[in-house]
């Protein structure tokens, strides 16, 4: 009997805590019994109200067209739940007559939000509106078939899709799979070597795997072989888990310096993957010759023979592939350019300083669109004689170059701030030890600067990733452009303009969000978190 009461009491206490969180202190704060009975009353009333809303909504929407009864049930449940929360909050505030609570932990008292309860009521209405709108988009008013039908096209571009679906061309998708395996493996290894807990890794990784399988495995409107794709993705998942387990075991057993070296090697492999992607997609001549030579010995003959075939030139790339490659180039090459520019701007030699300042200020003065136009039409004029075959200076190569330059200038500014903050004692000690100026720069100043400014550098990377959406303006067929014109060219789903754009927003958001989470974790890991402040540079 006492156990029941204590369970009842503890749960009531938790409910009261929750109520105080959203609506403030109640008049009957001192009398727990009365308080809890009022809470129960409120919960009951709001529960009944939400059930009525559920039934009402469910009956008011007709099954028809693309809307199934399952969709209606999902929508109604979501609406009912949000009404539950909203009505609960309103009832609490009214019934318990919550008084003015000091807002913001007593730091500021702003006259217009005099009461937590008022704020609570306002936010519950906003939440109501948002939930209704989101679920309406998701299940009722929009047809998502156009997105399912164009999955491959949006990932790889129209040329590679044509190669996959039409008989007169050979499918080139085999070039993508080794990269996918590598990326999965590197991700598993990186998490294994870090100190993320196993549980959080499994939760995150599991979520990603589920999403990938759902996305790739939905048989609706698929124009590719689902079973083979799912099989390969499960192989990749298994590979990733194996790498995670192996790295985790390794890092538990060996000294820290070896773990750090392993982390550095993983980082280098990641950079190498970027170059490997480009080589696999469009192998240069000497790679093809080497592959042909090796294949003559009979080792891995069929795989090497594949490499000797004609590559996919950058003009035929498309979709998410372009966004990823251009963003990766901007980040990797941009970091290198940024370091060079930062050191130039900081040096004492005028021959380095003034050109550095000129380049950084000019590039930063214009919006990125402007520089994309410059790279597309004016840069070829200046740079064409440098290429033995001017055709090599492709659209994509130009975009990679200008993204690197643009990213490099922003990163240079960030690193310059970090360089200025390096303790001069470090530099003096290095000088005393006899290190050359170049060694001092690379091995003392740069690591310190990068460590301090890593969150800002990652936010520049996120900015570069988001800016790859601007490629559509110069008629490069990237993810966003395909999504925009999908509704105009896919004759089966003509006129569904909004769905692909929502999908685009979701995909870009997911990548950017993941990067910002990584940056926060890195920040915490490096011990850079200040007293509650967030870095917003």
């Amino acid at each position: 009997m006492s156990q029941d009461t204590s369970f009842f009491e503890s749960s009531m206490r938790r409910i009261l805590e929750l109520e105080r969180g959203v609506a403030g202190r109640s008049r009957w704060d001192s009398d727990i019994k009365a308080d809890s009975s009022l809470s129960l009353l409120c919960i009951l009333i709001s529960g009944l109200f939400s059930v009525s809303v559920l039934l009402n909504t469910e009956s008011s929407i007709d099954v028809g067209g693309e809307v199934t009864s399952g969709d209606i049930w999902i929508y109604s449940t979501a609406v009912a739940l949000s009404w539950l929360v909203a009505s609960w909050i309103i009832l609490i505030s009214v019934v318990k007559r919550t008084r003015m609570a000091p807002a913001f932990n007593g730091r500021i008292r702003l006259p217009w939000f005099g009461s937590t309860a008022l704020l609570g009521i306002l936010s519950s209405f906003i939440m109501l509106f948002l939930v209704e709108w989101i679920f309406d988009i998701l299940v009722i008013s929009m047809r998502w078939d156009i997105v399912w039908a164009n999955r491959v096209s949006v990932m790889l571009g129209p040329n590679l899709t044509e190669a996959m679906t039409q008989d007169y061309l050979v499918s080139e998708n085999w070039r993508i799979w080794p990269i996918i395996f590598l990326v999965w493996a590197i991700a598993g290894a990186a998490y294994g070597a870090s100190n993320t807990s196993v549980r959080s890794f499994l939760i995150g990784f599991g979520l990603v795997t589920v999403v990938v399988f759902l996305f790739a495995g939905n048989p609706l409107e698929a124009n590719y072989n689902i079973d083979r794709v799912l099989f390969r993705f499960s192989l990749a998942t298994a590979l990733s888990l194996a790498c995670f387990v192996a790295m985790r075991a390794y890092s538990k057993r060996v000294e820290e310096y070896k773990v750090n070296r392993a982390k550095r090697n993983i980082g280098l492999t990641a950079v190498a993957t970027f170059f490997l992607t480009i080589i696999l997609l469009d192998p240069p001549e000497f790679v093809k010759d080497i592959a042909g030579f090796l294949a003559g010995f009979g080792i891995l003959e069929s795989q090497l023979e594949l490499i000797t075939r004609e590559g996919v030139p950058p003009a035929r790339w498309g979709g998410l592939l372009i966004n990823l490659i251009v963003a990766a180039a901007g980040c990797v090459l941009g970091f290198a350019i940024g370091v060079v520019l930062a050191f130039s701007r900081q040096s004492n030699l005028p021959i380095l300083k003034w050109p550095g300042i000129a380049v950084i200020e000019i590039v930063r003065s214009g919006p990125l669109i402007c520089w994309l136009y410059f790279a597309m039409y004016l840069l070829p004029d200046v740079a064409d004689p440098l290429f033995t075959n001017p055709e090599d200076f492709d659209n994509i190569v130009r975009m990679m170059a200008i993204f690197s330059l643009f990213g490099g200038c922003y990163i240079a500014e960030v690193i310059r701030g970090g360089l200025q903050a390096v303790d001069s004692g470090q530099k003096e000690a290095a000088l005393a030890l006899g290190l050359s100026p170049m060694q001092i720069k690379l091995q003392v100043e740069l690591p310190n600067a990068v460590r301090t400014t890593l969150p800002s550098i990652v936010s520049v990377f996120i900015g570069l990733w988001k800016d790859t959406t601007l490629l559509f303006i110069i008629e490069i067929i990237d993810f966003f452009r395909i999504a925009k014109t999908m509704a105009n060219t896919d004759l089966r789903f003509l006129g569904d303009f909004l769905e692909p754009v929502y999908f685009t927003a979701l995909v870009f958001w997911v990548f950017a969000f993941y990067l910002s989470r990584v940056s926060m974790n890195v920040e915490k890991g490096l011990g850079l978190v200040k007293e509650g402040g967030g870095d917003v540079a």
Binding site: L119, S123, P350, I351, I369, Y373, D381, T469, D535, A537
Partner: protein, 607 residues
């Protein structure tokens, strides 16, 4: 020269890294120099048939040589860095700028020679004009080296002693005369050199680079010498790039291909011609087809400016509200604010703008449905129609607000009175004034949108009467909404970070001193929070200005849109591109200046 030093030298050069660097440098030099040599050849070939110059790429020797050599001289001066210290130092010694002077003299000599000496376009001119920068660079290299033969002859003659004391001048004279000798007799120079000039020059540059590398790595020297040698090294490595850029741009300006020439034509006279497309601008609507391009551009600048200003104001307000809400104790409210910030911070702006525009088009009702709010505001997916007050009354309302503010400043000239009675009185006066202004605006000759059904059978002809309303286009709404939502999330983070960074002790001390909430805000919290906020807000506002160039996605006539269409109508890319850069830079500087001024005011008090 003993064995030990030879061994030292060999050790330095035997490392693989140096070998690799030499190979890369060779390839890079050749790649940059061969197109430059071809470009110089084509630019100096003149052939006049019937009194008309047939080679469009031709430059007269004076312009060609002076352009290339003076462009290089700029970098030479930077590398040598003699002028700035000489100006700064107290005793001015002609020797301290001797190198700069000598390079100037050599340049003028070379230019004069190029005009008066008849150099052949195929070999002579490139040799002269590309060899001259190499000679100038070699002056830097040889500046602190010795001439060995002269040393042996010391004591023979006072002239020789003087020469030994000034090795730089002797080096200069010898090198330059040898160079001139080769230039004048270029056809007699052995074919190894004259047939492949770029390899010859690359070879010379590599030797110079190796020599400077040896100098740098063998003796540490004092920092000044070390800096000089590093500068020289940078100049030698950068020389092919500098030559390439200058010759390439000169070639582009006089390109045989007429379209490229159009593109690089640096004249803005086409902007005085009539514009060929129409735009929709307020407050200065240009008159198509009469107005010139400059006027269209100016209207577009006003368009961009008003979009940017409105976005900045709105995003600051929204950002402050959300940032403060995020710190609230109400879990639901702070949760919603966190969701907002996380969603919009990671959303690409281009996709957001497009999404907003499409969603507005779908969600807002059709114009023929006559959707309105009490007959005052008509909204549809073709735009928003607001009532238009009389201009005079707007001016009166603004004047009232301004005079009230000035009077308040005057009353508080001896110190702000922030007792609760004064605050109550102030808020009363301000609210009365706002009500009065509203009343003034809404009475009198305010015109409401007049929905006219021109032809009752044809819904498309129904319209709002011209001039009866203030129209806000859908494109403007989409741009403002997108920019505001996006930037507000970043501003919210900035505000939250600044407020959270305040030490707790400050607020507790303010409370214990008995300050009222308003006083706490004004005297303790805001000054400290603003100090960290303003620089960050400065960069965000500049981002808003630059992001307004994305208005092309929503077809709003801003600067970039107008220049983009002009670029496609007239092939003059470089002039328009330069205009674009200048305008955006000017805007950024303006915003930066205002924010810096405000920053200076806020940080006047030392904390």
């Amino acid at each position: 020269m003993n064995i030990k030093s030879l061994q030292n030298r060999a050790n330095i050069f035997s490392s693989v890294k140096v070998l690799l660097a030499v190979v890369v440098l060779w390839a890079y030099n050749n790649k940059m120099l061969s197109p430059s040599i071809e470009a110089v050849s084509s630019m100096s070939r003149s052939f006049v048939v019937g009194g008309v110059q047939q080679n469009p790429a031709y430059y007269d020797p004076y312009s060609l040589s002076s352009a290339i050599i003076f462009f290089f001289l700029i970098f030479m001066t930077l590398a040598r860095n003699e002028i700035a210290p000489a100006i700064r130092s107290k005793n001015f010694n002609i020797n301290s700028i001797s190198l700069t002077l000598s390079s100037l003299i050599i340049s003028i000599l070379v230019i004069a020679l190029s005009i008066f000496g008849d150099f052949s376009p195929a070999k002579g001119m490139p040799f002269l004009l590309i060899g001259a920068p190499i000679i100038l660079a070699s002056l830097l290299v040889l500046d602190d080296s010795e001439i060995l033969p002269v040393k042996r002859l010391s004591g023979l003659h006072p002239l020789v002693d003087w020469a030994e004391g000034n090795p730089g001048i002797i080096n200069t004279v010898i090198i330059f005369s040898a160079f001139l000798g080769m230039a004048f007799n270029i056809s007699f120079v052995p074919p190894i050199i004259s047939s492949d000039l770029s390899s010859f020059f690359s070879f010379i540059l590599i030797i110079m680079a190796l020599y400077v590398y040896y100098q740098i790595s063998s003796e540490a020297g004092n920092p000044l010498t070390h800096d000089q040698r590093s500068s020289t090294m940078v100049l030698i490595i950068g020389l092919p790039l500098i030559i390439y850029i200058s010759t390439r741009i000169l070639f582009l300006l006089h390109n045989p291909d007429s379209v490229t020439r159009e593109r690089w034509d640096l004249s803005w006279s086409f902007m005085d011609m009539k514009n060929t497309f129409e735009i929709n601008a307020w407050p200065l609507q240009p008159d198509f087809p009469e107005d010139t391009r400059w006027q269209f551009l100016f209207s577009a600048i006003l368009n961009s400016a008003r979009a940017t200003l409105l976005s900045i104001v709105l995003c600051t307000i929204l950002g402050v509200i959300i940032g403060v809400t995020r710190l609230s104790s109400n879990k639901l409210a702070s949760g919603l604010a966190t969701v907002y910030v996380e969603v919009f911070r990671n959303m690409p702006l281009a996709v957001l703008l497009f999404l907003v525009m499409l969603q507005l088009g779908e969600t807002l009702p059709l114009f023929s449905e006559e959707a309105n709010i009490a007959g005052w505001i008509y909204y549809s997916n073709q735009g928003l129609h607001l009532p238009r007050p009389e201009t005079l009354r707007i001016i009166i309302a603004l004047a009232i607000v301004f005079s009230l503010w000035a009077w308040g400043r005057y009353r508080d000239r001896d110190g702000i009175d922030d007792s609760s009675e004064a605050l109550a009185r102030k808020s009363l006066i301000w609210s009365m004034a706002l009500v009065a202004c509203l009343g003034i605006l809404l009475t009198g000759d305010m015109s409401l949108p007049n929905y006219v059904k021109t032809n009752p059978n044809i819904p498309g002809t129904w319209t709002i009467e011209e001039g009866s309303s203030f129209e806000v286009t859908k494109a403007f709404m989409a741009l403002i909404i997108g920019l505001t939502l996006f930037t507000a999330s970043v501003v919210a983070e900035i505000v939250r970070g600044s407020i959270q960074a305040l030490p707790r002790g400050q607020v507790e001390a303010a409370v214990s001193l008995g300050l009222s909430p308003y006083q706490r805000l004004r005297l303790v919290i805001l000054p400290q929070a603003l100090r960290s906020m303003i620089p960050l807000l400065n960069s965000q506002y500049m981002n808003v200005w630059k992001n307004s160039s994305l208005a092309i996605i929503v077809a709003y006539s801003d600067i970039f849109y107008v220049i983009f269409v002009m670029m496609n109508n007239v092939g003059k890319l470089i002039p328009l591109f330069l205009l674009l850069l200048v305008i955006y830079q000017a805007g950024s500087l303006l915003i930066s200046g205002i924010m810096n001024f405000y920053n200076a005011r806020v940080t006047r008090v030392k904390i």
